[in-house]
């Protein structure tokens, strides 16, 4: 079969699409792996857990985030576009009334900040926030 220019163009675009698809799941699955480590494959639902982050962060070096998880014993935060997805883990003690905390994190690029909460009854909840990052915060 003789390859026409049209054939080559189609092959090229299909190849590019596959390559583009191949990159994102690789990073996302790192986060999924870490989440699976915590939950042990248990079902993750939605609930009162919330993540508050700015929609647009000009400087990825310090992005303020706030998590609020009433009834949770533990909350782990992940950034799915960072070289290593783990960000921070909060464990709440008996003297903590609100089970909320704020901190500042580094984000390498535009991505989702995902929080997984372990509730008092052993179930899990998930919440996420998308942050657009203008300048990445992980150095070169």
């Amino acid at each position: 079969m003789q390859l026409t220019r049209r054939d080559l163009l189609i092959m090229g675009s299909v190849g590019m699409a596959t390559a583009a698809l191949g990159v994102t799941p690789a990073l996302a699955s790192l986060t999924d792996d870490e989440i699976a480590k915590i939950t042990g494959g248990a079902e993750v639902g939605a609930g009162d857990l919330s993540v508050t982050a700015p929609e647009i962060a000009e400087n990825g070096n310090t992005v303020p985030i706030e998590i609020s998880a009433p009834g949770a014993t533990m909350v782990a935060v992940f950034a799915d576009g960072n070289p290593t997805p783990n960000v921070v883990t909060f464990k709440f003690g008996p003297l903590n009334p609100t089970h909320a905390a704020s901190t500042r994190i580094r984000l390498a690029k535009t991505q989702n900040v995902v929080a997984i909460a372990q509730m008092e009854d052993g179930s899990f909840q998930k919440a996420s926030a998308n942050v657009k990052v203008t300048i990445g915060g992980c150095g070169g």
Binding site: T62, A79, T84, V87, V88, K91, G93, L95, A101, R106
Partner: protein, 109 residues
């Protein structure tokens, strides 16, 4: 990296019994992530604070595990219940084995 590390904590001096108070903490630390490279292209080794805890009269309020994705000069804000007068104790654990501690008194009326 033990030079220039200075913990700062903001706790109200007084409160009513059973009240929920807001605590803000900040510690100056460069939090080297282990991802950056120096001028010659060599990786700068990781050097971060990996754990922070806050206790009130020996009871835990919050226990935080920090990863390299936490910003320089790690900052935390959280709430605590104060059943009686006593002392808040804040502890930071550095990668190099150093432990930084600070304490704040609060009187409950």
């Amino acid at each position: 990296m033990a030079s220039g590390v200075k913990p700062r904590v903001k706790v109200p001096k007084t409160a009513a019994a059973g009240d929920s108070i807001t605590i803000k903490t900040l510690i100056s630390h460069k939090m080297e992530s282990g991802q950056r490279k120096d001028g010659d292209g060599n990786l700068i080794p990781r050097s971060i604070i990996n754990r922070f805890t806050a206790d009130f009269n020996g009871e835990n309020v919050i226990d935080v595990t920090l990863e390299p994705a936490i910003s320089t000069n790690p900052y935390f804000q959280f709430d605590a219940t104060v059943p009686e007068s006593g002392e808040f104790k804040f502890t930071w654990y550095d990668d190099d084995g150093d432990v930084y501690e600070t304490a704040k008194q609060i009187s409950v009326s």
